[in-house]
Symmetry: C2
Subunit: 447 residues, 2 copies
């Protein structure tokens, strides 16, 4: 099979081909590396990449398969790892001068789990500074004059540029879903606690969620199931016993789902073309979609901001105090503002979460999923900002699973459609997403 044909495959398809022996993990990783050589001069998705080490991992997986010792669920699939996630064999530099060359002593739990499932840990992808808002070098693969979004910039851009079929990101505000929308790829932020954060640089223990990128909904299910594992050392991790996400998705038909079209408190901040495009998508869903009457969610976006600022200040404030020269002016200013959040406001923002989730859960229970925008529009022009997370913050705060589907093109740039589900029900969310993809069929294109 030609390299370009390999790169056309989804992760799930490529895994199946490698298991069947149609091509080797080494050949597939080589195809990815050749694509990186071709595209990365423009995209700059990498914080760390050692092609020889990636190929060595792939050869070891080929050897394991040849030995008859079986293949993992992610056999031979290169996965890009956001550079705030620890790796025993590569530095974790957190997009920060303060961590230049920092080499962790062991893998984050999520990386160890990927390796055990047969993935090739291909390299470390670019993150904004400490996964906050200061942009890094990565460009949008669809147009290098546009931001790829952040903070998981390199992971989203790398999947979009076909440098690897799968990647890990993290979301505290909108850092998985927004880059997914901007780069035109499938992305999911699962329920808070589904994926272990042990070994991930935390900026907010209340909000931080490991998320995934892939080339299809099945790809999202594949890597999510590989990652899903109870971790007693992560306070938000939970014990689980349910069908896998992949099994629920494969079971297929959810009947005709009922979609709740939720403009969200952020609607006025969206670009008119994006609003129009989403309305066109909703129209395609016909009588299955209806406008949601959501009770007031007073202060929900501010609550997320309070918590993110408070915990950022708690973790990074001392870092800034010790090393002011190692922190960018943008992050310095943000941390100075974050230090002004009062503990009382933070306590109230934490306490409000379960109350607000109760309200949202009642609405979610009436629908198969909510449908809304994943970003204010397509990737804005310019590299000075990674864009606005206002369409993501409330879902991160509530800890619910979100997925973005590359179903719209606006002004020549991709823009996603976001679906939201109930906590701990990624399977149903992806099944509904598949129905939406089938229903929409052709992308909605706006000038």
């Amino acid at each position: 099979m030609s390299q370009s044909a390999m790169l056309e495959l989804t992760a799930t398809e490529a895994r199946d081909r490698m298991v069947q022996g149609d091509f080797t993990a080494e050949a597939y990783t080589q195809a990815c590396l050749d694509q990186i050589a071709k595209r990365d001069g423009e995209v700059e998705a990498w914080a760390y990449l050692d092609p020889a080490h990636a190929l060595a991992q792939a050869r070891a997986l080929d050897k394991q398969r040849a030995s008859g010792n079986g293949t993992g669920a992610l056999h031979g699939l290169p996965v890009g790892i956001k550079d705030i996630i620890d790796t025993a064999d590569m530095p974790t530099q957190n997009g920060s001068a303060l961590f230049k060359g920092y080499q962790p002593s062991k893998d984050a739990t999520c990386v160890a789990v990927l390796r055990a499932a047969g993935a090739v840990i291909i390299g470390k992808t670019v993150t904004t500074e400490l996964a906050n808002t200061t942009p890094n070098k990565t460009k949008n693969p669809h147009n290098p004059a546009h931001t790829p979004g952040g903070s998981s910039s390199g992971s989203a851009a790398g999947v979009a540029a076909r440098m690897f079929p799968l990647a890990l990101g993290t979301q505290t505000g909108g850092s998985v879903i927004r880059p997914g929308s901007f780069c035109g790829v499938h992305a999911m932020k699962p329920t808070l606690g589904l994926v272990s954060r042990t070994g991930v640089t935390l900026q907010s223990h209340t909000l931080d969620t490991v998320g995934v990128y892939g080339r299809s909904l099945a790809d999202l299910a594949l890597i999510t199931d590989a990652l899903s594992q109870y971790d007693p050392s992560d306070a938000v991790s939970y014990e689980r016993a349910r069908p896998t996400v992949g099994a629920t998705l494969a079971a297929g038909s959810v009947g005709t789902p009922r979609l709740g079209f939720f403009r969200s408190p952020a609607w006025d901040q969206a670009e008119p073309a994006a609003r129009e495009a989403l309305e066109a998508i909703v129209k395609k869903l016909g009588r299955s979609a209806e406008e949601v009457q959501m009770p007031a969610l007073d202060g929900i976006i501010q609550h997320q901001a309070n918590i993110m600022a408070a915990e950022n200040s708690g973790y990074y404030g001392p870092l800034l105090a010790r090393n002011p020269e190692g922190v960018s002016p943008n992050l310095t200013e943000r941390l100075k503002n974050a230090a002004k959040v009062s503990a009382g406001d933070y306590v109230r923002s934490l306490a409000a979460r379960d109350v607000l989730y109760g309200t949202v859960e009642r609405v979610l229970g009436e629908f198969s999923a909510l449908i809304t925008l994943p970003s204010c529009g397509p990737a804005p022009k310019g590299l000075g900002s990674t864009g606005n997370a206002v369409f993501n913050a409330m879902w991160t705060y509530l800890g619910v699973p979100c997925v973005t589907l590359p179903l719209m093109t606006i002004g020549g740039m991709p823009c996603g459609v976001q679906l939201i589900g109930q906590r701990r029900d990624e399977g149903r969310l992806l099944a509904v997403a598949r129905w939406v993809e089938e229903q929409v069929a052709d992308r909605v294109v706006m000038r």
Copy 2:
């Protein structure tokens, strides 16, 4: 049996007598009510008391016993309930003008559990305003010119004045142990999470701990075991499967324990006579006690203060904003200061707890228990303050069990001796406490 003989009994003894039929629950409750009539003019321990209702509960318990349907572990024992703990049949006024006449719709879980064990919920005992520091009307039964301590003022004073054999208090700083020391009774603050807080007015979800008062160590074990129950609706509650506290205490011999004499970072704030008295106690323990070399616990008292202030501000700040006239000048000032704690400091104070507990746990592991003061000395003269919690705050922060034993008299007023154990090991702590009581035998008396 005469009323005065009944009042001499410990709760455990009285329960046994009532189960055997030596006297009825009604007679015992009547003895308590008569004692209240005698003593409460001076002590003022009550926020709410309805003698007829208490007697009705006692008669119902007598009837249940007579019917052959068995008796609970607390059969016929009147328990004083701090007035921040909800009761379905009596108001919960929180020592605050804002809650005057407030009638909860149901019992706090801890009260429901006591009722199920056959206790008489005799009435609501005086608390300081919202369990904070503004003193209320209660006087020290040993000398009404002195504070009983707080915030569990009425519970400690009522047990000391023999108005009831058992009581519930709560501790956020030093609100169970300090009044226990000042009033010369046995008191225990168990491990954070042993007793459910559902239905208790929270001022700090991180610190608040329901504690108990009794007339002996066996009494503390008796009521603690009755209260010990996993509550999934209280985030700090934990599942448990170990011998009961009472069984561990009854098993007796812990061999010769090894006591760690820990002056604590607060030692310099203690009165010289109290320091001298404790040193005399330690001397009586002979070679079983030795001075602890504790690693530095930097900032531990400040950490507790940050958390208490932050969560107080979170809960009561909006209350103050809405009802400034219903909050005392003292609490108003405290809440205004509390609002100044930054979220970053609060996050760091929360994060430091497990690290500091790791340090303390290693030391606790070398000893059977630590021994220190429960208060800076005996109850200070005057009713304008409930005293200093500096000998309590770090233990509340760490969530470890603490007990105070009435083993010293200083200037004619009682003062306790505090023992500290490892989390979740109240049984061993009380067994060591019994050994200490036997070893000390006669109170240490200082002028």
